[in-house]
């Protein structure tokens, strides 16, 4: 259903159980800190189909931050939903602050360019896929 990449498999291994449920905010996604060494694999695939839920890492999608909650039954994805979605009010300022100069090499020096939106990058779908993948990693699925 989604172009889920195989990256990030190692990022959040140690959180696999603790992230179940609603509120526990996952460790910061941005740093990509690979935790722990070669830990032994977690619970092996259950014989009975168990319904489990995990929340993926927070991912920046350009306008804010999202994380994805996935529920699996056995090894099958049952539902995927956006668990947290923060639309940063100041996103335009943040992004504009990083805007690169264009057109005749003018230099953008200001912090507060006013823009209404951004065309181009599928930040959201990437962030969605990354967060989903990390949620699946926590459940040792796929």
């Amino acid at each position: 259903m989604l172009p889920v990449g195989s990256a990030r498999a190692s990022t959040d291994r140690q959180h696999h159980k603790s992230a179940v449920g609603g509120s526990a905010p996952p460790a910061s996604a941005a740093g990509g800190s690979t935790t722990g060494g070669a830990s032994s694999p977690g619970p092996s695939a259950p014989l009975v189909e168990v319904r489990r839920t995990a929340v993926g890492a927070l991912e920046n999608y350009g306008y804010g931050i999202l994380s994805v909650r996935v529920t699996v039954l056995g090894s099958r994805i049952e539902s995927v939903a956006v668990q947290r979605l923060q639309t940063a009010e100041q996103y335009s300022q943040q992004l504009a602050a990083q805007a690169i100069p264009m057109l005749h090499s003018e230099v953008l020096s200001a912090q507060s360019a006013q823009i209404n939106g951004i065309s181009g990058a599928s930040y959201t779908s990437q962030a969605y896929a990354l967060s989903l993948q990390s949620a699946l990693d926590r459940l040792h699925v796929a």
Partner: protein, 268 residues
């Protein structure tokens, strides 16, 4: 500059749908909040309905059943034929560079449907009489009216290879669609070779319809700078902005760049 409600902050909403997140900004004008929220719910339904019909990831969706041969066009909702006719029209208008029939796995209108659905959602919101609306379907943007008290919408064009950076900012009064090989990876195919496109890092098309701009941008990303001709030649007022793999930029006359100086409120 007023801090009151008249121009005020927009109502924002982000809807997970179509494998991504579609975001809305609505400037209510003289419409009350309940009206806007109801209209937003309706706009979201439009997106989900489109997803249910056109998702190639869902094996039971009408488009999937068409692709697999499980259903004929006559058996599917009439919108499918409408979208496929638009696809055929855009294929002809782009000399074959936009070609949903060249995709692996059968006809795939994805290159146009996201914009088509976002445009329908925007029209539904605009009909309520709000003063300004923006719908951003993961980078394919369409606006209506005005953003509060500002005179025009400013849309940043994502830099093709610097994450989080902008290549430029343009003024928009309708659709802005951007395609690039960076965005969809191998999903962007050169219909003539059947291989992933190369050569253009980012292709932006502006114009009245997001469905059409989306298709033109997809074609432009594959065709390269020569494709600017079929963009500007398309009736209705479409313009193109291309960033090549080498970083060279080309734009047709109608692209309204916001001067960098105008983006900055000089901190004193």
């Amino acid at each position: 500059m007023s801090s009151g409600q008249a121009g005020g902050d927009p109502l924002r909403h982000a809807e997970p749908v179509m494998g991504t997140v579609v975001s809305f900004a609505v400037y209510p004008g003289d419409r009350d909040r309940a009206t806007v929220i109801e209209a937003l719910a309706g706009a979201c339904r439009i997106l989900h309905d489109a997803d249910a019909i056109y998702s190639t990831y869902q094996p039971e969706s009408p488009i999937s059943r068409l692709r697999s041969g499980a259903a004929t066009l006559a058996e599917l909702p009439p919108e499918v034929e409408e979208v496929l006719e638009l696809c055929a029209h855009m294929k002809a208008a782009t000399a074959g560079w936009f070609d949903p029939w060249a995709m692996p796995g059968g006809v795939d209108p994805t290159g146009l449907v996201k914009g088509w659905a976002a445009e329908r959602a925007l029209r539904a919101l605009a009909r309520t009489g709000v003063s300004g609306v923006m719908v951003n379907a993961a980078g394919d943007v369409i606006v209506h009216g005005r953003p509060g008290e500002e005179s025009s919408w400013r849309i940043g064009i994502a830099h093709p290879w610097r994450a989080g950076a902008l290549a430029c900012v343009i003024e928009a009064d309708a659709a802005v669609a951007t395609s690039g090989s960076y965005e969809r990876g191998a999903h962007l195919f050169d219909p003539r070779s059947g291989r992933p496109a190369a050569g253009v890092a980012s292709a932006t098309v502006t114009g009245p319809s997001l469905a059409i701009a989306d298709a033109l941008a997809t074609a432009l990303a594959v065709a390269g700078p020569d494709g600017i001709e079929f963009v500007t030649g398309y009736p209705g007022g479409y313009d193109a902005y291309v960033i090549g793999d080498d970083g060279a930029e080309l734009a047709s006359d109608g692209i309204r760049f916001v001067p960098v100086a105008a983006l900055s409120a000089e901190p004193s």
